[in-house]
């Protein structure tokens, strides 16, 4: 019943998108409308469907090794999911590097279940017809941190190094258009067309990098994680393509999450 309702809402939303761009003015009524709409939508967010699917994938023995993910250590001990997302990225001694949530989930799927990285990295983002398993699982894991304060770990030297490296990457201008992340996300109050561009170098705006991800994106009606968001921003930055769930992405996510630390993560969202 609830699922049917959510599907109906999802269909309605898909019909509404894309947003009428021409309406935007400086005070941005489009953004205001969207915020109202989002508040209603989040009552029955289609993202919950993917959370449910992700939970099932987490618990079910799968892959060449026919194992579940219940022994996966997300940083709080094997199998502990509650609160783990809000405390990542963090250092993992078994791989001797910092990992964000999706990178860690992919790691567990490889080591515990026997999946192959090449296969998982081939088509890592959702399309109209397919939602990759790591996306659903990340959605499930993230939802179990809803309402918690972001507390990415910054004690291990490699955690501190990841922050500094992520910061360098954020400001690194290159590519065909000379852009860095900061070209679009380094100044207050700017926008591209009608889309407001948060300034992620400021703590109170950096939360907007994390909030609502993983999110159900109305454009196309698909579920996406931050891996997708950053991938698409690198595309718009006219860079080459980042490797999925790579250490470079974990460093960038460390920079963004640490800038937002201490603020409440509200759980799965709706994105335009």
């Amino acid at each position: 019943m609830r699922q049917a309702l959510m599907l109906a809402v999802a269909a309605a939303v898909a019909a509404v998108a894309p947003w009428p761009q021409a309406m935007a003015q400086t005070e941005d009524p489009v953004a205001a409308d969207f915020d109202k709409f989002r508040a209603i939508m989040e009552e029955a967010n289609p993202a919950e469907l993917f959370e449910a699917k992700g939970e099932q994938l987490w618990r079910t023995p799968r892959g060449p090794k026919n194992a579940s993910l219940e022994q996966c250590d997300l940083g709080l001990g094997p199998g502990v999911v509650k609160g783990a997302y809000a405390q990542m990225p963090r250092y993992f001694a078994d791989v001797d590097r910092v990992m964000d949530a999706e990178a860690r989930i992919v790691h567990c799927m490889i080591t515990l279940q026997g999946f192959k990285r090449e296969d998982l990295a081939k088509k890592p983002f959702s399309s109209a017809t397919k939602t990759p398993d790591p996306v659903s699982i990340t959605t499930y894991v993230a939802a179990q941190s809803a309402g918690m304060k972001l507390a990415p770990q910054q004690t291990h030297p490699k955690e501190k190094a990841a922050y500094e490296i992520g910061k360098e990457i954020f400001f690194y201008r290159a590519g065909a258009y000379d852009f860095s992340c900061a070209s679009c996300h380094g100044v207050d109050g700017q926008r591209i067309r009608t889309q407001p561009l948060p300034n992620f170098t400021r703590p109170e705006q950096a939360i907007r990098a994390i909030q609502g991800w993983p999110g159900y994106r109305m454009t196309g009606g698909v579920m996406h994680t931050l891996q997708w968001r950053l991938n698409d921003c690198f595309r718009q930055q006219r860079f080459p393509e980042p490797d999925y769930a790579s250490e470079m992405m974990s460093a960038l996510l460390t920079y963004l999450t640490v800038n937002a630390q201490g603020q409440e993560y509200k759980g799965l969202g709706i994105k335009r």
């Binding site: 030297p157 201008r173 065909a176 258009y177 000379d178 852009f179 067309r193 080459p240 470079m248």
Partner: protein, 201 residues
């Protein structure tokens, strides 16, 4: 055997790069990680990660290089502007409007340059209210600046290479990197400079 050795060396290099990522300066670490954790896709090759002299100076000096270097780089960028052989700087403003509206081009999904995406960053014509605000308003550009050859040349060169005037501008170098053709740049210049263009009415 040969191959095995090459593979081992490649793997060794990757490990070294990763180690460097953590032991040296954050910048060296970032460069090593980016080198390892990006791949070429479509037209977006790995060469795009390499800084040219302008990018290197802007990265090194946080977008404000020392005056002398700044002037030197601007001069070099300006010298690289290729002026139209026929001497005409204004094309068709209607075609220019389409190019200004189109924000596609130069990503790994594109085949090359497509549009200029000017509206992504600038207010331009009176009918488009969904403009971005990264750059200043260009509405009434010709009317306010004058329609003379000097301003025509400024507009054309700015579009060709924004860094010829402002080394660390956030505006792309459309002609310099081949994102727009000469004909397209003339059309966009006309959008800003033709007295008949809605920008100036």
């Amino acid at each position: 055997m040969r191959l095995g050795l090459a593979a081992m060396m490649a793997a060794g290099a990757a490990v070294l790069a990763a180690c460097a990522a953590l032991q040296s300066s954050p910048r060296d670490g970032a460069l090593a990680l980016m080198q390892r954790d990006f791949h070429a896709e479509g037209i977006a090759g790995m060469d795009r990660l390499k800084e040219d002299d302008v990018q290197a100076a802007c990265n090194k000096y946080k977008d404000s290089p020392p005056a002398e270097l700044d002037a030197k780089l601007r001069g070099k960028q300006y010298a690289g502007v290729k002026w139209p052989a026929d001497g005409k700087l204004l094309g068709d403003w209607k075609a220019g409007e389409k190019i200004a509206q189109n924000g596609r081009g130069m990503t790994w999904r594109d085949k090359g340059g497509v549009g200029g995406g000017c509206y992504n960053c600038h207010q331009i014509g009176p009918d488009t209210t969904s403009f971005g605000t990264i750059g200043p308003s260009l509405y009434q550009f010709g009317k306010l600046r004058g329609y003379g050859t000097d301003i025509q040349r400024y507009a054309y060169a700015k579009i060709y290479n924004a860094k010829a005037y402002n080394v660390c501008s956030q505006m792309p170098r459309f002609g310099h990197v081949g994102a727009l053709t000469e004909a397209q740049m003339k059309d966009v210049t006309a959008l800003l400079m033709d007295p008949a263009s809605p920008v100036n009415r």
